[in-house]
Symmetry: C2
């Protein structure tokens, strides 16, 4: 029986893969106008089928609630009229973006007369693995279609009915626009075993993009044979230099920690130069505690804060683990450093290469920080929260890469493409 | 004992990894002048230590011969005065290339005043896994150093003494130029177990580049957790269209198959349009057989060739496996197709997305072929053999990527870099 199940699973995935490759041959050459039409039709159909979609979603939410899903997770899973409006608006925005396919990136004529043109083409078939957020089904499908990539979507099992409803609308829109429906496919068998096999579908899938927490990312990294773009891990730091404008530093630290603590570009550790710690630490910690931030502080910080009248009971001692932890919550590790070099050393040890910031008025400190720190985004005098496709002007985002291969930082449509060399000759052979 | 061995192996690799990361912090910011000095010193020292290196190499070659290594493999392993001259000249050529690090790729000012500059930075720590070719030790180290990447090299065990000698020279040159010797490290424990653990060293290694045959590439793909750039698999096709200039087609086919059959950009299958098969097939096959090419032909080809007087005994029947095989040898699969569409369908089924060519005088056929075929390099009227870093004007090459992620086709210095966003503000926070 086990063998038989395995056989079916692999057969099922191979069929999805073959269908995706076939669809991709058409989609990769589709005109911008046709791709945009599919997106606009999908936006329209989403609204027309709203009650159906919300009904399917209610089944998911009810089942999740019955299984004890947390209220905040239920909230992420839930679709409402407002959210469907937002999703449809997102599709229209992607339709309005420039199409990167066919861009000429480079080129020239070689001494032997060969003319080489480096062009931008879709990656091919993308596998997107994500958690129980049905809006991702529409967002990811839209970015893939616009960039000419067929996609196979594998969403969290808790959202399966919602995802089926959204994917069905998308496929119908593709068909009406004259594109193969299989440009967007959903894996409807949400077992872990099928997900594991999907990660090995390198015969058909060109790139795998996991969107979710550390558990998902690690599962993909250890199991996948398909090339992966890692997204979403961010142990971000803000370093307040001795030459910082402390009013500016306060605004940036509060924003980087509290404006949206659950996301990857939120600050997790605050580093403060010893020369300004006596002045800055008490005021920033007062502000953060007032905003319900739990502090985990180094010994020197604790000394300064208790001397300033803080209740030692509210200040946890930071451990080695705290420096390495991405809380994604209203928790902040705090450390005093004696120099810019110590700040850089600390960040270099614990960074996940996502977003790091310095607050300073010192030109040399700013330069040194930007050149030394190895991260996708290195900020001077701004909040780490800006690492985002919309904030960077990409118009949309499929995730934030924190690996170095292929791309780094926010990934928009261009980042979903690769290159193809077109070489034209008149009979050249190699000597 | 096994546990104890495992512990040592992991400790050994972690030490290499930590040293590489330390060295990379310096190398990533080293000036072009200093990096060039290291390369020129290495070229000089290679010649000064020539007799030592050739002595170490002789130990490897003798041991390999005693173990029964083939003469052609021994030839690849052997270092001579001439080959060391070539390696040294290669290092000087890399020194003369432009340094890609620090290039500004894009940028702008956002509506909120944030100034974003997208710059080019080294990938970081590269792992290069290769076979018994000691010249790769110097070539790979040179490209890594010039592009600001620390490298950990794992060459074939048959070349270990040669690799140690070459790496020692390189490390001495780095030291003399004022760079950390650990910018270039060699794994001296050449066990398979250590290689397997090396592929999982994602804590320290940013990218893994395997250079070698299908066995090596597959081992890396299934075992690695470090992101991989696949190189070197090429099942390349030449399609001779009905509108081909047949004299040109003959030159291109002969060149693509026989000029250097062992490499990844050599042709493996010839497709000929039925309308020109009666005229073209006999003449090209006579030419190829005269050059010792073994032919594996489809039924229609066999009929035409036997009718033209070919001895049926010299014509093997092509099987399904032949269409999918990269011979890397003087063997060619031959198939007649009835249309451009059939040629595209065949190539799309069997391509490894490396290099594909059409020979035609028909504008529409050329365009359709270039737009339809999904490969790194798509040629019109030129030999597939041009897919090469030197031929493309990159000045050097660490390999040819046949995956879509990160880069495709010949990889020079730019392809060994990633991006970093430098973001400068004056107190911006996200609303």
């Amino acid at each position: 029986m086990a063998d038989n199940n395995d056989f079916d699973r692999i057969q099922y995935l191979n069929e999805l893969g073959e269908a995706a490759v076939r669809a991709e041959r058409v989609l990769s050459r589709a005109s911008t106008a046709v791709k945009n039409e599919a997106l606009l039709l999908a936006a329209k159909l989403l609204k027309e089928r709203e009650s159906e979609i919300i009904g399917a979603n209610a089944t998911d939410v009810d089942a999740a609630a019955a299984r004890g899903m947390s209220v905040s997770m239920q909230d992420r899973l839930r679709l409402t009229t407002k959210r469907i409006d937002d999703i449809a608006e997102g599709l229209r925005q992607v339709a309005a973006l420039p199409d990167p396919v066919g861009d000429v990136l480079d080129g020239g004529t070689r001494p032997n007369g060969l003319r080489i043109v480096k062009t931008r083409v879709p990656l091919g078939v993308l596998g997107i693995i994500y958690e129980a957020r049905p809006n991702v089904t529409a967002d990811a499908a839209a970015l893939c279609v616009k960039s000419g990539n067929a996609c196979i979507l594998r969403g969290g099992k808790e959202a399966i009915n919602s995802n089926k409803a959204v994917a069905a609308v998308f496929r119908e829109a593709l068909g009406k626009a004259g594109l193969p429906e299989d440009c967007v496919q959903l894996i409807t068998d949400t077992s872990r075993e099928t997900a594991a096999e999907f990660m090995k579908l390198d015969k058909y899938v060109d790139v795998l993009i996991p969107r979710g927490g550390a558990g998902l990312i690690n599962a993909v990294l250890t199991q996948a044979t398909v090339p992966v773009i890692q997204t979403g891990t961010g142990n971000c730091h803000v370093y307040v230099d001795k030459a910082a404008d402390l009013d500016m530093a306060e605004k940036i630290v509060v924003n980087a920690k509290t404006q949206r603590p659950s996301v990857c570009n939120a600050m997790e550790t605050l580093l403060v130069h010893a020369d300004v710690a006596n002045e800055f630490l008490p005021r920033i910690c007062r502000e953060l505690i007032a905003r319900n931030v739990e502090l985990r502080v180094c010994k020197k910080s604790k000394k300064i804060l208790t001397a300033a009248g803080f209740d030692a009971g509210t200040l946890k001692d930071a451990t080695e683990a705290d420096w390495a932890t991405e809380y994604d919550d209203l928790i902040l590790a705090v450390k005093i450093v004696d120099s810019l070099e110590e700040a850089i050393e600390h960040i270099s040890t614990y960074t996940t290469h996502h977003s790091e910031a310095i607050v300073t008025r010192d030109y040399n400190a700013a330069s040194e920080f930007q050149l030394s720190i190895d991260a996708a985004c290195v900020y001077v005098n701004a909040s780490t929260r800006f690492t985002d496709g919309f904030e960077f002007g990409l118009g949309a985002e499929i995730g934030i890469s924190n690996q170095k291969l292929h791309t780094r930082g926010p990934m928009g449509l261009k980042e979903l493409t690769t290159v193809k060399y077109l070489i034209n000759g008149d009979g050249q052979v190699r000597g």
